[in-house]
Point group: C2
DNA sequence: AACTTATAGTTTCAGTTGAAACCATTTGCA
DNA sequence: TGCAAATGGTTTCAACTGAAACTATAAGTT
């Protein structure tokens, strides 16, 4: 009889476990970017994400922002409250539906957007620099497939 | 004169922005797995991560667990408190260094581990099912490069 | 040995989070 | 029309989070 357990456990090898690796990579990258604007602009990651979609699509409602950012509506509601309060986002009410808001970046919001966006792009560039063209192409294709419904 | 702004903004196209896509994918996957054990075993994601590394490496200290999980030491300390309290992890004190703990899964901890691990693996399998062998190989290689120091 | 510095781990505090409850408005339908 | 169900958005509450302060032990220095 051995002192080791009779039952063979099969522990996860986290270093090869895809969900785990994705999580580490994603957190590392997101936090590196966030660290760059967090204090500089007094801007949280959720706020920046909201600003980014509003930079791309004007006049969205809060729910649409939530959809596009894949954040939950409470988080969006709070981020918007802070952004509107800080004068970075203008909020109006939808003409035909008084429940819906109509959102867009203010001039101040655009100013910040136009500083943070290149900064984010630069981080992406640095990350992709580690790959050659062939790898970049595969990555894009693979992510498409993994994220497909 | 046009009604559109004179300044050309360059909004991020989030749907093609790598850090954003990674974040969405990672959250989707992690939450799908977590949803599977969260209520069933009264186990948070941080607790499961701690259990997973202890399943793989017996006798680690709390700090070593933090290193391996890429979680911060406060989170690990709290997860361990709950796990020890629930009788899922046994905590002893290191022989030569009374500051360090020596951690391992208890029998009850192993029992849970051995149910959750296959479940996590199954999720990974479902995810990878979307890729063919060539794509899987590229993905592994690409992640290695992206995560290299 | 006495003293400073470093390390392991926990606690505190203030801020953030998500689920559920909530309010207001709109839509569907008898 | 009137009423139930659905929808957009906010608030509440309890849990969770990380930074900084803290305790205890160990290691290095004189």
């Amino acid at each position: 009889m051995s002192a080791r357990p009779t039952v063979a456990h099969a522990p996860l090898e986290l270093e090869h476990f895809l969900p785990y690796r994705l999580s580490i990579l994603s957190n590392t990258v997101s936090q590196a970017i966030a660290a760059d604007y967090q204090q500089r602009y007094e801007l949280s990651m959720t706020e920046w994400r909201v600003m980014a979609v509003l930079g791309r699509f004007e006049g969205l409602s809060a729910r649409e922002v939530a959809e596009r950012t894949a954040m939950d509506k409470v988080a969006v509601s709070r981020a918007l409250a802070r952004l509107v309060d800080a004068g970075r986002v203008d909020r109006a009410t939808h003409d035909g539906d008084k429940r819906r808001s109509v959102l867009q970046l203010s001039a101040a919001g655009w100013a910040i957007h136009d500083e943070v966006a290149p900064l984010a792009r630069e981080h992406e560039r640095e990350l992709l620099e580690k790959l050659n063209d062939e790898e970049k192409a595969w990555l894009a294709r693979i992510l498409d497939k993994l994220m497909a419904p």
